[in-house]
């Protein structure tokens, strides 16, 4: 049975580049559209002004065929279109998009994706430190806890090329929103409290100028039973996750079985930063 399953996956041009667990929860090839990805937004009551500032402007996703001013359309890794997440041209601005599902068994899950990132090619310069970070986070709740694995690739900070993976386990303050007492919010993507993965250095394929991009493989495994991040792999590197933990907090009233996936990009300069996803697959053992 397992051999047959593997053979069928290998025979599928899109799926053969992934190693999904037994059940595919979603498989998003962006040649088929935006596939349910949308802008992340913070909680609010009565007025949009009640939202925490970090959540005000996380930008809608786009479908991009990778068109460059100098070479035309690059297309995606497979086909023509990729999901594109773009910041504003303001240093420190973050763009973040989300897909929201629920889980049905507390077992292993696996996110895989092919991604790349680049700054807007507004200058004829290398610009390899213009994108500050790209990341993936999960927002999960079970009967005991809400927990939020956060992982990011810190490409640069204030112009210094750092090229390392980080995680975040310390929660940001949970603050009331509005006046009913029913709504709270915390800006967990804040720049504070990121920690380096042990031996988390990794140089990716930036490729010389801002209009060339190369696709990278990403895999993140979680165990919903033990609330653990069990694997981070990017291309040929499987990172050491010793001491790497998710944020954990008490459960909240209306989030039962939540399983959200968020992808984001942050710019280090007053120039737009772009994160592209050729395809994303979430699978699980259930």
């Amino acid at each position: 049975m397992e051999d047959l399953r593997r053979a069928l996956l290998r025979a599928h041009a899109g799926l053969s580049k992934f190693d999904p667990l037994s059940r595919i929860i979603f498989y998003d090839d962006f040649d088929r559209g935006l596939q349910g990805w949308s802008e992340l937004i913070g909680n609010y009551e009565d007025s949009l002004d009640s939202m925490l500032p970090g959540y005000e402007d996380l930008r809608p996703p786009m479908l991009s065929n990778g068109t460059m001013w100098d070479t035309g359309s690059a297309g995606s890794m497979e086909g023509n279109y990729a999901l594109k997440i773009a910041t504003r041209p303001r240093a420190g601005h973050i763009a973040a998009d989300v897909k929201r599902v629920t889980w049905r068994r507390r077992g292993p899950i696996r996110l895989e994706a092919y991604f790349t990132f680049k700054p807007e090619p507004a200058e004829l310069r290398l610009s390899e430190t213009d994108v500050r970070a790209v990341g993936v986070l999960f927002d999960i709740q079970d009967e005991g806890n809400r927990w939020m694995p956060h992982l990011r690739y810190l490409n640069s900070l204030n112009g210094e090329h750092l090229a390392r993976w980080q995680f975040k386990r310390r929660s940001e303050a949970l603050v009331p929103v509005g006046v009913t007492g029913k709504t709270r919010s915390h800006f967990h993507l804040a720049s504070t409290n990121w920690e380096n993965l042990p031996d988390g250095q990794q140089t990716l394929c930036y490729n010389e100028i801002a209009t060339k991009y190369n696709w990278h493989y990403l895999r993140v495994d979680l165990n919903l039973a033990s609330r653990a991040i069990s694997r981070l792999q990017c291309n040929d590197r499987v990172h050491d996750l010793a001491d790497v933990e998710p944020m954990i907090m008490p459960p909240m009233p209306n989030l039962w079985c939540m399983l959200n996936v968020v992808l984001w990009v942050e710019t280090d300069v007053h120039k737009r930063a772009f994160l592209y996803l050729d395809s994303v697959i979430l699978s699980g053992e259930w």
Binding site: G33, L48, E56, M62, L63, N65, T67, M68, A86, P121
Partner: protein, 111 residues
């Protein structure tokens, strides 16, 4: 049955425009038709009659006037329709001195 792709991107939300402005570029070459909806949450001064302009770009960085305009009215929502726009769209304009609007700009796209 294949149905046509349709997607609404909120390209500006709760943003205040005053003086010269432009919405963030939106890449949407997959779509063949689009409508910009401008919903005014708050108006300061007399902005009725102010003309916004649909702008297109071949690279997302250099812009030209497409020719379609959106005239602000006293209604809560104004719109402009555009077709045959290539790969990038935005809405630009200039508000009269001393006026401002707080808006939600939604771009509704269809294959």
């Amino acid at each position: 049955m294949m149905v046509r792709q349709n997607y609404t991107a909120v390209v500006e939300r709760n943003r205040v425009f005053r003086g010269d402005f432009a919405t963030e570029p939106y890449e949407c070459g997959w779509a063949s038709e689009a409508i910009f909806f401008v919903r005014k949450l708050e108006i300061s001064g007399d902005v009725a009659g102010t003309r916004m302009r649909v702008q297109i770009s071949g690279d997302g960085m250099h812009w030209c006037e497409e020719g379609t305009t959106l005239d602000l009215t006293d209604s809560e929502v104004d719109f402009a329709k555009v077709r045959h726009f290539g790969n990038w769209l935005r809405l630009g304009g200039a508000l009269p001195v001393g006026t401002s609007i707080r808006v939600i700009v939604a771009l509704t796209l269809k294959e």
